[in-house]
Chain length 296, copies 2
Amino acid sequence: MSMLVLSGVPESIIDGLKSAGVRVVMPYTKIFPDGEQYIRIEEEVDSCIVLQSMYPEQDRRFIELYLALEALRGLNAKCIGVIVLYLAYARQDKRFLRGEPISIYALMQPLKLLGIDRVGVIDVHSESSLRNLGLEVLNVLPHKYMIEKSGIKVEFVLAPDKGALARAKAAAEGLGIPYDNLEKFRDRITGEITMKEKRLDVAGKTVAIVDDIVSTGGTLAKAIENLYKLGASKVYAVVSHALLVGNAIEKLERSGIEELITLNTVRHRELPKWVRVVDCTELVLDIAKELGYRSV
Amino acid sequence: MSMLVLSGVPESIIDGLKSAGVRVVMPYTKIFPDGEQYIRIEEEVDSCIVLQSMYPEQDRRFIELYLALEALRGLNAKCIGVIVLYLAYARQDKRFLRGEPISIYALMQPLKLLGIDRVGVIDVHSESSLRNLGLEVLNVLPHKYMIEKSGIKVEFVLAPDKGALARAKAAAEGLGIPYDNLEKFRDRITGEITMKEKRLDVAGKTVAIVDDIVSTGGTLAKAIENLYKLGASKVYAVVSHALLVGNAIEKLERSGIEELITLNTVRHRELPKWVRVVDCTELVLDIAKELGYRSV
């Protein structure tokens, strides 16, 4: 059995898989002069798991996944599941406004036609959106793992909004410490975010804000500033997928963040010293085993 | 009934449709800071045809189409068919080498899940690849139309390879003139193209080479040079979709091409004087009517 690793997957994960004795198969890929992708699986593959990550260049990475699954079909290879380290388009999991698509449906539904019914993910924005498609979903909540691996000492776990409360609960209960959530309001037209005022027992404490994605850093920076106002002594952010687009790094730096703990689920550009990347190869291997991966 | 026009469609087609009295609906689209696409259909749509073109940025355009169809589903709107002016990835319609995908399957199959079973195309690379997916295909061969609209006088029609012979036949028989084909060999590993030597009765004649796509211009330039060697007096290229990537324009200029006649099926950058763009709105309207479009 092998793992077919597509081009969104960071090098550090590939190295980790190889060190763990996984047979890693990487297809030959190129971009034609007109911009079309080409993929070819040159090695023999009988049964496998396909591994991909959807950032950056989300659209290219989805199309690459479709092409890879079609190529496997041509080889009569069995794909026992797809693991997506970071699943893009997962935040558009509802019709927030009339006339919108449920983007994650449009993009994940094709996998079923391509023979996939089991999907592994790390901290997907919403599990239910995938289950509603009839996909069996293995989702890992990695925050406790990230806190432990990074060695930070945390006394309080906070979700920046209600949507992330399950993440805070899982991490806090695992660590035996209290948790709560802030309340965020996003204007669906302007995109602007406001935080409701809320009393929290964080004075003098080291707090970890847990979330799935940090993109432009707006929500996270506001939550951090909020916590310092409430008297927190140190505020960490423990966020699975660090996209850090635009001036996210500057915004977070200004917020007084102690450290950002994240995973290598996406390819990062150069990061400042206060960002610590925890390797998630172990989590990937756990998911793979649950999907039925055997190293023979 | 309306036409939902997506962002790959050239302005000139949109203007043409509006002039013809079509109710054109254009969704609101944006790109999030992290690169994800957003689409929203703000107007009321009951039943419609969706119009898209897949160049440039083929992957974005396919994903946009999936998102638009999902949004229509949310509106309970009926999409009676999709018209794709230029269908990308259509050249990868076979497994030329073991381990390759049939890319056009991977990319067009999702349409079926999104409720589409009828597709209109202008000069698709291969109709059969779409039919094999169980899609009903309306394909227009536009070369006779292009020759007549441009007013060029042609005495001989030539296909640059066997694959384009049906195009040459349709145009030549329509015009009542002779036709033939060259033979091309493409090395599937290096991508290099060689032309077989062949005698053709073109001495002193005005010849039109007909094809579906000109991308880097390599095949076309070689065919033109070949024809001048055989004594042709003027060589036109009549090619439906002019992608003209890399140094295609320089290559064609050096080949001694008289004119390139093409359609506005894709968004063009600035073109030299010897490229003539024939408006294909009329063809789009013909396809739409065959798909069941009624202007009420």
